[in-house]
C-alpha cells in the first residue's frame, strides 16, 4: 500500500513514517528545495549531520549514505537519487532571507503568504510537542551549495542543479518523524517561486544481502546494525 501527498512550494509539513518504508521525494519544479529534519522513534534522538558526514567522509548527501542520529543509529538510508549532491552544510532559511521579496502577510496574500523554513519547521515541531530546541542541521534535498578550492572553502549556491521530476528515495530504518519545509534555499538568488514536492510513502523490500547502504562503508553498516538491534 502506498500513498502520496503534494506539498506546495513555500509550505511546511510533518508526518510520522514507520520503519521499512520507502519515502520518495519528487521535485515538482526546477530548483526545488526541501529542508528535512528527522527524529527517531522516541522523538528525542534526531538527525546529526556532522556525524553523518564524518562517518561517511562526505560533505554532501548522496546514495547510498545512511542518515545517522545523535545516538549513532540509522534513521534512513538514501536508496537512490537522480542527483548525487544534496546540500547539508547551510541550514534552512530564516525570516531574514525572505526580506528581499518585500512584505507579506496572510491578510494581504492569503495562502500565498511567504513564510520561512524556520517558522514552518517550528510550527510543525510544535504540533508534536517539540519546538525550537529540537531544530537541527537539515538536509536540503535537491539543492547544491558548491565548495570552492580556496583557503576558507567558500560556498556558492548552484542554480539549475535539479529540475522538475528529479527524485530522491529514502528507506526508513526505524519509525521516524519527518519534518520538512519547501521554502526557498536561504542562499538561492532566484525570484520567489519555490517549487513544490511530492512525498510518496510505500513499503520497502527487506534489504538484500548486497544492499548498497549496508555495503557502502563499515561505518554505514554499523549504524544500520545498531539501529536493527533497537528496532528488532
Amino acid at each position: 500500500m502506498s500513498w502520496a501527498h503534494e506539498v506546495p512550494g513555500g509550505a511546511a509539513w510533518s508526518t510520522p513514517v514507520r520503519a521499512g518504508r520507502l519515502v520518495t521525494l519528487t521535485a515538482l519544479g526546477d530548483d526545488a528545495n526541501v529542508s528535512v529534519l528527522l527524529f527517531g522513534a522516541d522523538r528525542l534522538d534526531r538527525l546529526n549531520v556532522p556525524d553523518t558526514m564524518k562517518a561517511q567522509m562526505s560533505a554532501r548527501i548522496r546514495p547510498p549514505m545512511v542518515l545517522m542520529s545523535d545516538r549513532g543509529l540509522a534513521l534512513a538510508s538514501v536508496v537512490s537519487s537522480t542527483s548525487d549532491w544534496h546540500d547539508c552544510l547551510t541550514g534552512f532559511g530564516h525570516d531574514a532571507h525572505l526580506e528581499r521579496f518585500g512584505p507579506s502577510s496572510y491578510a494581504a496574500d492569503r495562502n500565498d503568504w511567504r513564510r520561512s523554513a524556520r517558522s514552518g519547521l517550528i510550527s510543525e515541531l510544535t504540533k508534536h510537542g517539540l519546538g525550537e530546541a529540537d531544530l537541527h542541521g537539515p538536509v536540503n534535498f535537491f539543492s547544491k551549495v558548491a565548495i570552492a578550492d580556496d583557503a576558507s572553502a567558500s560556498l556558492a549556491w548552484q542554480a539549475g542543479h535539479t529540475t522538475a521530476g528529479d527524485q530522491v528515495v529514502l528507506r526508513t530504518e526505524q519509525d521516524v518523524l519527518l519534518v520538512l519545509s519547501t521554502a526557498p534555499h536561504p542562499l538561492s538568488g532566484a525570484a520567489y517561486g519555490p517549487a513544490g514536492v511530492q512525498v510518496e510513502v510505500g513499503s520497502a523490500p527487506w534489504p538484500a544481502e548486497d544492499d548498497a547502504s549496508w555495503l557502502f562503508r563499515d561505518e554505514s553498516a554499523r549504524a544500520l546494525e545498531m539501529c536493527r538491534r533497537v528496532v528488532a
Binding site: L44, N48, V49, P50, D51, M53, K54, A55, M57, S58, A59, R60, R62, M68, D70, R71, G72, L73, W85, L89, T90, G91, H94, A96, E132, A133, D134, L135, H136, G137, P138, V145, A146, I147, A148, D149, A151, S152, A153, S154, L155, A156, P186, L187, D218, E219, R222, A223, M226
Partner: protein, 206 residues
C-alpha cells in the same frame, strides 16, 4: 582592544577529557591556548540568559559564505544573532562541520570496542547540566584547532591539525554568553595527534 579596567579573571588549565562552563560577559574576551599542539577543543555557545538561544554551526557557515572559522568569523545563533566574534587566531582555521565525538558515534566510526571510551558528548552533558543544558540543547559545535578539510568534489576528511604548541584562538563576546567546552578525549583519529593534551583558558573582562 584592551581596556585598562580589564582584569584577567580566568586563567585555568583544562585537562584532556575534562571540560568547562564559562560565563563571559558582553565585551569580555576568552582565549583558548593549545598548550601542546593539535588538540581539538569542542565548543558550544549559549545566550547566558536563554539557553534556547544557542550557537548554530550551519547558520554561521552559511552567513559567512565559507566553511572554516577564523579571525572575523561571527559566531551566530539559531536566531541569526551574533553571540561572539573570533577576534584573534594564530592557528589559521577551525572546524565547525565535524561535530563532537560521542560514545555512540565512536561505535559507528571505530567499532564496538570503543563503546565505553570517554567522549565529548558526555563532557558537554556533564558540564552543561547545571545550566539546564541537556540533550535537546546540544547543537552542532565548533572544533577549535581541528582540521577537517572539505573538497570541491564534496568529500570531507579528518587530518592532522594545523595547530602547534602555544597557538591560540580568542573570542570576544557580543552578548553575555555561556561557553561550554569539552577538551576532546578522542584517541581513535588524528584530531588530537593521537594524544589528547591540556589547554589553557584565559579570560579578560571588566
Amino acid at each position: 582592544m584592551t581596556s585598562t579596567l580589564e582584569a584577567t579573571v580566568i586563567d585555568t588549565v583544562v585537562q584532556p577529557g575534562d571540560g568547562a562552563l564559562v560565563e563571559v560577559p558582553a565585551g569580555g574576551r576568552l582565549r583558548i591556548v593549545d598548550l601542546h599542539g593539535n588538540q581539538a577543543v569542542d565548543t558550544l555557545l549559549y545566550d547566558a540568559h536563554d539557553i534556547a538561544h544557542r550557537y548554530s554551526a550551519f547558520d554561521t557557515v552559511r552567513e559567512q559564505g565559507a566553511v572554516f572559522l577564523t579571525t572575523g568569523s561571527r559566531l551566530l545563533s539559531n536566531r541569526l544573532d551574533e553571540l561572539a566574534v573570533i577576534t584573534d587566531d594564530t592557528c589559521g582555521r577551525h572546524d565547525t562541520l565535524g561535530g563532537a565525538c560521542a560514545q555512540e558515534s565512536n561505535v559507528v566510526r571505530y567499532g564496538e570496542h570503543t563503546r565505553h571510551q570517554h567522549a565529548c558528548r558526555e563532557t558537554f552533558l556533564r558540564y552543561g547540566a547545571p545550566a539546564g543544558i541537556g540533550q535537546r540543547e546540544l547543537g552542532h559545535n565548533i572544533n577549535f584547532f581541528m582540521n577537517v578539510p572539505v573538497t570541491p568534489a564534496g568529500d570531507l576528511t579528518f587530518e592532522d591539525g594545523l595547530s602547534a604548541p602555544g597557538k591560540h584562538v580568542e573570542l570576544t563576546a557580543t552578548r553575555d554568553v555561556l561557553v561550554l567546552i569539552s577538551n576532546c578525549p578522542q584517541l581513535n583519529n588524528p584530531c588530537n595527534g593521537w594524544n589528547p593534551t591540556a589547554v589553557q583558558l584565559l579570560g579578560w573582562w571588566d
